[in-house]
């Protein structure tokens, strides 16, 4: 299968690889996927007092499209408020990376990771988790 140039770029030079202190109450962590399925994404956000994401990091076990989807997600998250971040849709990722139909699940996983990270942050800071209106599985 041929990958798009953008997938190859993110895969070869992944942005924001790393780990934030998951014990900090300013950090939200989302860990989604399963090793048996061949994809695990961990996405972390650092949020300031105005609920704006100041930093984002990821680590992903998966194919090139999964790595690219999470790398792109971290780029998009930085500077967004957590409310705006919640609106990131997997189809935006599909479009940006030109993912083929067989790789759409990678973008779904990235969206799930974003929402999981935000909810982790919200719960840590005494807010209600936001239920996802989409059912993916």
């Amino acid at each position: 299968m041929a990958y798009s140039e953008k997938v190859i770029d993110h895969y070869t030079n992944p942005r924001n690889v790393g780990t934030l202190d998951k014990a900090s109450h300013k950090v939200g962590t989302g860990l989604v996927g399963a090793p048996e399925c061949g994809d695990v994404m961990r996405l972390q956000i650092q949020v300031d007092d105005n609920n704006v994401i100041t930093d984002a990091k990821f680590k992903t076990f998966g194919c090139g499209s999964a790595i690219a989807s999470s790398s792109l997600a971290t780029e998009w998250l930085k500077g967004k408020s957590i409310d705006d971040a919640m609106k990131i849709d997997n189809m935006d990722i599909v479009e940006e990376l030109a993912l083929p139909p067989v790789k759409i699940h990678c973008s779904v996983l990235a969206e799930d990771a974003i929402k999981a990270a935000i909810n982790d942050y919200r719960v840590k800071n005494g807010m209600e988790p936001i239920a996802s209106e989409k059912v993916h599985h």
């Binding site: 690889v17 090793p35 061949g38 680590k59 076990f61 998966g62 194919c63 999964a66 699940h105 599985h137």
Partner: protein, 403 residues
């Protein structure tokens, strides 16, 4: 050295230029139909086919009258399994095979089930070998055929064919083997091994694509298969269709080259394979899949834990290899062969098959080691699972969200 380096010789092999040279006259100049009995054009073609038949027979210790030319191993497997089922249905309707067979065998068996046959799919042991006691206890008076592959295409494991054949024969069944990966790579002898039917394919041993053969034993016992295609009754009535003369000439030449070079080549390739394997298993958490003692000389299947196979192949884009990862197929299921060894899904996802061949050089193997090590290390730096492993977190203790 050409980049990318081709290390997928179990999928197909490049054709040997000597094979091409042998084939060339049979396209334009010597174009006759081997079945044309009444003029020289036909005689020339027939002579070439007869010679190729001898070359093929010689490679597997058979007689030339026992070779049926086909379009490849998929057709040979289908003809053997469906043909035996139809021919021997008075005697019984039970076939035994294994879960690690090639799809051509498994799907032909599924077809037989639809036709009213009964098929036992034997599991294999952790090292990929058939459990002979289990085979013996699965035999019934209704069993007409045991179909077990010679060497496995994914992990290279070589089955104890003689012992399997003895069990089949003791219970009055025929022994069939898909020997696609073994023929031309290791000595295969239908008499020494007790084989009644054998499928082979030219493109797996430096011959052309689209041509193969089925060996059908003629003596002790005389085996017959019901033709699966109707037509002019070529190939002793077992396989109709005008013979692919250039392809058959190429198959014959490929066999001749293997007879001459197999022994030294097997030694060279197992040396290179062992170098590759020891160069890669220095990486932490890397595992060789399948039995290593009974294995084809040119294959190594290695899992690199905490790294996903397709992602790894993308990093190793300068190597042409194959992965057991789900992502390489649209099915999202990892390799059924690796899973049948009892490998967990994540290890099956993390596997890479390296298949060396006649044109693989030591320089290429050194390069493959370097690229693979670099890629595994890079992807582990990206892998949350690797980080957890390094922190001593038991991954089985985590409740993963299946998706």
């Amino acid at each position: 050295m050409n980049i990318p380096v081709y290390l997928d010789n179990n999928a197909t092999t490049p054709m040997d230029p000597r094979v091409l040279e042998a084939m060339l006259p049979y396209f334009v100049e010597k174009f006759g139909n081997a079945a044309s009995r009444n003029h020289p054009f036909g005689w020339v073609a027939e002579e070439a086919v007869d010679y190729a038949r001898e070359q093929v027979a010689k490679l597997i210790g058979a007689s030339e009258k026992e070779i049926i030319f086909t379009s490849g191993a998929t057709e040979s497997d289908n003809l053997a399994i469906k043909g035996v089922f139809e021919m021997y249905k008075e005697k019984g309707n039970h076939i035994i095979t294994t879960v690690t067979e090639h799809k051509a065998v498994l799907d032909a068996c599924k077809h037989v089930e639809k036709m009213g046959g009964r098929v036992t799919y034997l599991p294999v042991k952790e090292d990929g070998l058939v459990d002979l006691d289990l085979l013996e206890s699965s035999m019934t008076p209704e069993t007409i055929l045991v179909s077990i592959m010679y060497g496995n295409n994914e992990i290279g494991v070589i089955q104890p064919i003689r012992a399997i054949a003895d069990i089949a024969h003791k219970h009055g069944a025929l022994m069939m083997t898909d020997a696609v990966q073994a023929v031309g790579k290791i000595p295969v002898d239908v008499n020494r091994d007790g084989i009644d039917l054998l499928a082979l394919s030219a493109h797996k041993f430096y011959g052309p694509k689209g041509v193969g053969a089925l060996y059908v034993r003629r003596k002790g016992p005389r085996v017959k298969v019901t033709a699966q295609m109707d037509g002019g009754g070529h190939e002793r009535g077992m396989r109709s269709g005008t013979l692919n003369v250039p392809g058959i000439v190429g198959l014959g030449k490929a066999c001749e080259l293997c007879i001459a070079e197999m022994e030294s080549e097997a030694k060279r390739l197992s040396g290179l394979r062992d170098k590759l394997q020891s160069g890669l298993t220095v990486l932490e958490e890397s595992y060789v899949n399948g039995n290593q003692e009974h294995r084809l000389p040119h294959v190594a299947n290695i899992s690199f834990k905490y790294v996903e196979g397709e992602g790894l192949m993308m990093a190793m884009k300068d190597l042409a290899v194959s992965s057991g990862s789900a992502c390489t197929s649209a099915s999202l299921e990892p390799s059924y062969v690796l899973k049948s060894l009892g490998l967990s899904d994540d290890l099956a996802h993390s596997s890479i098959r390296f298949g060396l061949g006649r044109f693989t050089t030591e320089e290429e193997v050194d390069y493959a080691i370097e690229v693979t090590k670099k890629s595994v290390t890079h992807l582990r730096e990206l892998s949350p699972l690797w980080e957890m492993f390094k922190e001593g977190i038991d991954l089985d203790s985590i409740e993963w969200a299946e998706h």
